[in-house]
């Protein structure tokens, strides 16, 4: 018996760790929450990376444009081209500033229509795993962000705050498989549960065959479950399938927000009305 354990203890530890991982998948463990300083240290280590990504993303297009503008410059008109490049750069910088200004203005005017306290935050990174869909915000617990808060843009819903750290928050996107919320069809007021299916899509669950849903319908959050403010746009129906063998329709929704391009978002600083399992940091 002793030799068996000596030979196979690594495999037994592997199984034990896998069981523990499954357990935290199903139900977060409180003893592990005491180990949050370890995670906080890791987050502190990664925060400069996220900040650098944010900074470089802004500068990258600038450097790229400058490089493109200088390729093929002949000696004769070097001075003229340099001047032109400089002017282009200025124009580009101004255009960038104008665009950013416009985006922030839209965000501000949208935040005034929400009638709740909101906080603007920059997107600084994306989840690197293939199984989950999330983005990281460069603002964290110090700004009053808490788990479960809604994240939106003027174009539609983005997701829900999943984990909060000092200086960094993780947002579970509406396209993540673990996201589910009460929604309704704007035109017919048919209610359903929206669930993420990856890509830029969600599906509507529990829509019976007799209910009125059509391609092109806008899907908005009902606000009944408290997870998102009422009326926030989720997306547009792109396909409706009525299989004979099923009692529900298969409704696919394309999200209104392109999450890859989102640069600034609004966090709605109100606690969710339904209890949300908090992840403290």
């Amino acid at each position: 018996m002793g030799s068996f354990f000596r030979n196979w203890w690594r495999l037994l530890v592997t199984v034990a760790l896998l069981v523990a991982a499954i357990q935290v998948f199903v139900r977060p463990s409180s003893p592990l929450e005491r180990a949050e300083p370890v995670r906080a240290a890791g987050v502190a280590l990664f925060r400069p990376v996220y900040s650098a990504v944010d900074f470089l993303r802004g500068g990258f297009s600038d450097v790229w444009n400058r490089y493109i503008a200088l390729v093929g410059v002949s000696r004769e008109n070097e001075r003229l081209r340099k001047e032109l490049t400089e002017l282009r750069e200025r124009l580009h910088a101004t255009r960038d500033a104008v665009l950013e200004n416009r985006r922030l203005k839209e965000l501000l005017s949208y935040s005034q229509t929400i009638e709740r306290r909101t906080l603007g935050a920059r997107v600084v990174g994306h989840d690197v795993s293939p199984w989950f869909r999330a983005i990281f915000l460069g603002t964290g617990s110090e700004a009053g962000i808490e788990s479960g808060m809604s994240v939106v843009t003027p174009y539609g819903a983005v997701g829900r705050i999943h984990k909060v750290h000092p200086g960094l928050s993780e947002v579970l996107l509406v396209t993540d498989g673990r996201f589910a919320a009460d929604v309704m069809v704007e035109r017919s007021r048919v209610r359903a549960i929206a669930e993420g299916v990856g890509g830029n899509f969600c599906r509507l669950k529990y829509v019976s065959l007799t209910q009125d849903v059509a391609v092109g319908d806008r899907i908005v959050f009902s606000g009944f479950d408290g997870s998102m403010p009422k009326g926030v746009l989720l997306g547009t129906v792109v396909s409706v399938d009525r299989p004979k063998e099923s009692i529900f329709q298969k409704v696919k929704v394309q999200c209104a927000v392109n999450f890859q391009d989102a640069e600034e978002v609004l966090v709605i600083l109100s606690r969710p009305s339904v209890p949300f399992r908090a992840v403290r940091d």
Partner: protein
């Protein structure tokens, strides 16, 4: 100490590159999972407590850069370390094909178990296209693993000698 520092830098730089590349430049399935490789390498080639210590930082990096339930990615990565330790002890991992099979198997097993777990929890965001993309990611990461592991292991042997 040298092992630890090299694996720490490899996994940190790799994870940072993934965070940077993923910010709108490269699709996720073309990004090799460097922290995964660091965990598996420490299981295969770094014996004893040193290997365990080497596996800790990449496991924490995976926990931070992936949006799984709290600590699930860390625990999963440590399970991966012990599994790769067992594989490293039982099989001779000196040739390219054996290394490739071992890395592909471990990566596929990890991916399959997470998908299975999510599916059992009622979450099904995985399509055929996703499967194809995941296969590309596994193949890509494993192909990088072979020369990287061989090179690093030869270097360690030389340092020891």
């Amino acid at each position: 100490m040298k092992n630890f520092l090299v694996l720490f830098s490899l996994s940190y730089l790799g994870a940072s590159l993934c965070v940077w590349w993923l910010s709108g430049f490269v699709p996720w399935f073309l990004l090799p999972d460097f922290p995964f490789l660091a965990v598996v390498y420490s299981g295969f080639f770094v014996p004893g407590v040193a290997g365990f210590l080497c596996a800790l930082p990449p496991a924490i990096f995976r926990e931070i850069t992936a949006a799984g339930p709290s600590w699930s990615m860390f625990l999963g990565s440590m399970a991966l370390y012990f599994a790769s330790r067992e594989v490293g002890r039982r099989f001779l991992l000196r040739s390219e094909p054996s290394l490739l099979y071992a890395v592909v198997s471990l990566m596929a097993a990890e991916s399959f178990s997470i998908v299975l777990l999510l599916s059992l929890a009622g979450v099904s965001p995985f399509s055929f296209l996703w499967g194809a993309q995941e296969a590309v990611r596994i193949a890509w990461t494993s192909l990088i693993a072979v020369p990287l592991f061989l090179d690093l292991s030869v270097r360690w042997r030389r340092v020891k000698e």
